[in-house]
Point group: C2
Chain length 253, copies 2
């Protein structure tokens, strides 16, 4: 049985602990965190500790802490046997100060109160030693049907792309909601459109799926919208995104 210790108490740590503790072929031994209050949420899953000196001996240590804390924390794990893998999209393998470094990056957005269908989450793996990569692949394969070997440069690019399709998209949905609420309109009116936006690109490429005033160079509608927007930052974003759409289709002419 694969034994695992998780270090960290954030959203990624929480979802990993939840899914690993319920998997019969994985033994989640322990979760480590500095913050005792945050650790409490992990008590239903396994043992917890706030003492690095008391880490259990495991085959894999998953370091799910903030990007800036990975180097310092992994330094303190020098004495441990086992693969030490971080879960970050943006941090290179080399940042891990341990002889058996690895990466176990689940390409998904994790929020505490929202369950994730882990079986479909792409898990991007990297390791210095082939045996360690196999070990990580064994663990990943127990959680997901989409396990990929991705090097640090590719992973960094994937993470950047993820910012666009998730973080920025979510913010556009937020702005859409604000615009509705400003005029007493229910955001739920937009839900079928939002769903279709995503459904469409199962059949069409985003380039083919594009519609709207910027694509058809409807200058008058664009101007009306710019006049309607009150927040200067929203005006600028509207302008730049419209410009970017226009230039995407200009190249085609």
């Amino acid at each position: 049985m694969l034994s695992v210790v998780i270090l960290g108490t954030g959203n990624v740590a929480f979802h990993l602990a939840e899914v690993l503790s319920s998997n019969n072929s994985v033994e989640l031994l322990q979760v480590y965190g500095r913050n005792k209050t945050k650790l409490q949420a992990f008590e239903p899953f396994c043992d917890t500790t706030d003492n690095l000196g008391k880490l259990a001996a495991a085959a894999i240590y998953l370091v799910a802490v903030s990007d800036g804390a990975i180097a310092a924390l992994t330094q303190q794990l020098a004495g441990l046997d086992g693969v030490v893998a971080h879960t970050s999209g943006a941090v290179s393998l080399e940042v891990i100060d341990h002889p058996r470094p690895g990466v176990f990056y689940p390409l998904q957005t994790f929020t505490r109160d929202k369950k994730i269908p882990f079986a479909e989450v792409p898990i991007c793996l990297e390791a210095r030693h082939p045996n360690d990569l196999r070990l990580l692949a064994q663990l990943a394969g127990k959680l997901s049907g989409a396990v990929h070997r991705i090097d640090s440069a590719q992973r960094r690019q994937l993470h950047l792309a993820a910012i666009w399709v998730n973080n920025f998209t979510n913010h556009l949905l937020y702005i859409g909601q604000q615009l509705c609420e400003e005029k007493g309109l229910s955001f739920s009116l937009l839900q079928p459109l939002i769903q279709e936006t995503v459904d469409k690109i199962q059949q069409l490429s985003p380039k083919e799926a594009q519609t709207g005033p910027a694509r058809r160079r409807d200058v008058q509608t664009i101007q009306t919208h710019l006049d309607m927007l009150e927040a200067p930052l929203q005006k600028k974003i509207y302008q730049l995104l419209s410009e970017s759409i226009k230039s995407t289709y200009e190249k085609e002419l």
Copy 2:
């Protein structure tokens, strides 16, 4: 039985013709268009004509032409009895030069080759006369379970919000795809993330669902991403969206 004539041969006209012609309690009499080649696509649904003088007598005329063409076209319908309703999100009721003006705005993105589950599409209605509103509601109710009375100012705002959640979101997906392909990565790696982005906001508000470097003020990751982006316009958009996310959560502190 409700009789309908559609004017226009674009995507909205096509999807309306498709769904109306297959509805047993609606009689789609005719589609009008100036362009004979485009009209051919409508021949499976009903009669077609490119002669405004030969329009059939119908209870409802749906004017699904480009925003800028609505005024001029509806002027030429002065002699017709029946409600003359356009299908645009951005054009006010008053632009229709006919004694029985109306609006029949399906809030959805229409692409020719993608079927739409019409039953969930919000249809936003407006009319000058209560009887005409009832007539439009009768037609809308045969297609969709989400029929709303929305005045011109609200509809304009909804349309603006729709640009953000659909047009701009789709463009972000396009940029995400470009970033993947630049480094030989499959865009399909991002599909579960994109799906989750939309699924999340069924349970959480977009404000709660936000994650990423801008929300947690991870200046280093933001700088790395700006350095990675090659297109100046993408750099600017990344910067402004990050700024907008930061300011959204600043207000909370």
